[in-house]
């Protein structure tokens, strides 16, 4: 492990340790933040409780679906926008401002259109995550070096071959970062949606625990979400590192 990794590990452990001491000593009251060790204990308890399974599976399956739809859909749309300059010019300003729009405001409307349950949540999260993939796809396809496109013509490749064997592999690093963002935003979209206006799911349970002053349960669930998202990201990051090491760039 490199020096930076050691230092980072030390910093994180130190921060958690400091928090633990501050909480245990009462410097930070338990009504605000509970000690990290207490969080872990509460997490274990919560995971063992009966009702949590339904919430977990609802949230995680919603995230999985939103993730898949946004990655595939985002790629296709990004590809089309890259292909048809008129569409690209037309949509550019909206894409650039997309993430400033309060998506959650449209959530109640989605409920009325799609009814209660997971569907409006999934739609919202998909819409939220898709644009990240669209932008990354466009950026990746833009940056295919011209000399590689010329090489495709020298080899007299068909259009399909050129796209599949040259453009996509060349754009892969960007596509991968789009994928990472789409994953993150799927989580954010689902959980934020559940938080604001839902009657089930992890996001809702966190809000519910907050409303009922149940700090242990609240922090347990927060910790859970953070752990899952971070693990997911680390896996994707490791895969990306492996891929990029071959390419050197």
């Amino acid at each position: 492990m490199s020096k930076a990794t050691w230092i980072r590990a030390a910093v994180l452990i130190g921060a958690v340790g400091a928090l633990e001491i501050a909480c245990r000593s009462g410097a930070i009251p338990a009504t605000m933040v509970i000690a990290p060790s207490a969080m872990v204990v509460a997490l274990v308890e919560t995971l063992q409780s009966d009702d949590i399974g339904a919430h977990l599976s609802q949230t995680l399956s919603a995230v999985a679906i939103a993730m898949s739809l946004s990655i595939v859909g985002g790629f296709v749309i990004g590809f089309i926008l890259n292909w048809v300059p008129f569409l690209r010019r037309a949509f550019s300003p909206f894409l650039a401002a997309y993430y400033a729009i309060p998506h959650f405001a449209f959530y109640p409307l989605l409920i009325v259109i799609f009814g209660l349950g997971s569907t409006p949540l999934i739609v919202l999260a998909t819409l939220f995550a898709m644009v990240a993939m669209i932008l990354a796809t466009m950026a990746g396809l833009d940056r295919v070096p011209r000399v590689l496109l010329k090489t495709a013509r020298i080899h007299r490749l068909s259009l399909l071959d050129e796209i599949w064997r040259i453009r996509l592999p060349a754009a892969a690093p960007h596509l991968l970062s789009g994928l990472k963002l789409a994953v993150a935003y799927s989580f954010i979209g689902v959980i934020a949606g559940e938080f604001i206006l839902s009657t089930s799911g992890i996001g809702h349970e966190i809000a519910f625990a907050y409303d009922n002053f149940d700090n242990p349960r609240m922090y347990a669930l927060i910790l859970f979400v953070l752990a899952i998202v971070t693990t997911f990201n680390m896996v994707v990051y490791a895969y990306e590192r492996r891929l990029m090491r071959r390419r050197g760039a």
Partner: protein, 257 residues
């Protein structure tokens, strides 16, 4: 070529805007007033709302929260980014942590913010700043790290003082990328402030939105959403134009477009 606003460039987005409004109208037809109110009445309602005396304090509250959050996110972000970018090891240690923080659903930390800051303005500002500061730091860090060493050597060869080097070389060299970070930080801070306002106080546009959601007042929900979205899109377009201008002098990409 023309300044920031050339009409040909605006033509296509305007077409899309018109199509979006048309789509809105169609959705209204399909889903009815209970889900989507039509464009005209919604905009009329928005106009009426803005005119009412009691609207202004809400607008001012949100504006104030947003500006403060923006100041912290941008000012603090650039400062931290410069430090992390300048000192290699610190940057290396911090980067994965920041990237990790960027990806987590910050809404999960919302209750923690509320517990730490209590209800009211501080919580909103904190939540907004939290959203915006990370991209600013990351972009600034990247910009500082990637300053072309040759520029610095040219500066030393010309015997510039540190201040001169900073002002005449470092600032222009890093400005385009830092500005991109600020642009993204702007959007995210706006989002964060709005989110923060949903539950944190009895004033502000976010509060109005939440009330409308509770009362199922679709017209008001849409009106506020349109107001915020329009502001976001226009502000972003302006920032984007500046962004493009700043990047004009950059070295050309050896790849495709």
């Amino acid at each position: 070529m023309g300044g920031m606003f050339s009409f040909r460039a605006l033509r296509d987005p305007i077409l899309v805007a018109i199509s979006l409004v048309a789509l809105w109208q169609v959705l209204h037809h399909m889903a009815g007033d209970v889900a989507v109110t039509a464009p005209a009445p919604t905009l009329a309602h928005l106009w009426e709302m803005i005119g009412q005396a009691r609207f202004l304090p809400h607008l001012r509250e949100t504006g104030l929260a947003f500006l403060q959050a923006l100041a912290i996110a941008c000012g603090g972000g650039v400062l931290i980014g410069v430090v992390l970018g300048g000192h290699k090891l610190t940057g290396e240690v911090a980067e994965p942590i920041l990237v990790g923080l960027y990806s987590i659903p910050k809404i999960t930390l919302y209750p923690v913010i509320l517990l730490l800051f209590g209800l009211g303005m501080p919580a909103k500002v904190a939540f907004g700043a939290l959203h915006g500061i990370i991209p600013v730091v990351l972009f600034t860090m990247n910009a500082v790290r990637n300053v072309n060493r040759t520029y610095l050597r040219a500066g030393r060869a010309m015997r510039l003082t540190p201040v001169q080097t900073g002002w005449h070389i470092l600032v222009p060299a890093t400005l385009p990328e830092i500005f991109s970070g600020l642009r993204i930080g702007f959007s995210l801070t706006l989002l964060g402030t709005m989110l923060g306002e949903l539950f944190a106080s009895q004033r502000g546009l976010g509060f109005l939105l939440m009330t409308a959601i509770d009362l199922h007042d679709v017209k008001t929900i849409l009106a506020i959403a349109v107001l915020i979205s329009t502001f976001a899109i226009l502000a972003n377009a302006a920032l984007l134009a500046i962004d493009k201008r700043l990047h004009r002098g950059a070295a050309p990409d050896t790849s495709g477009k």
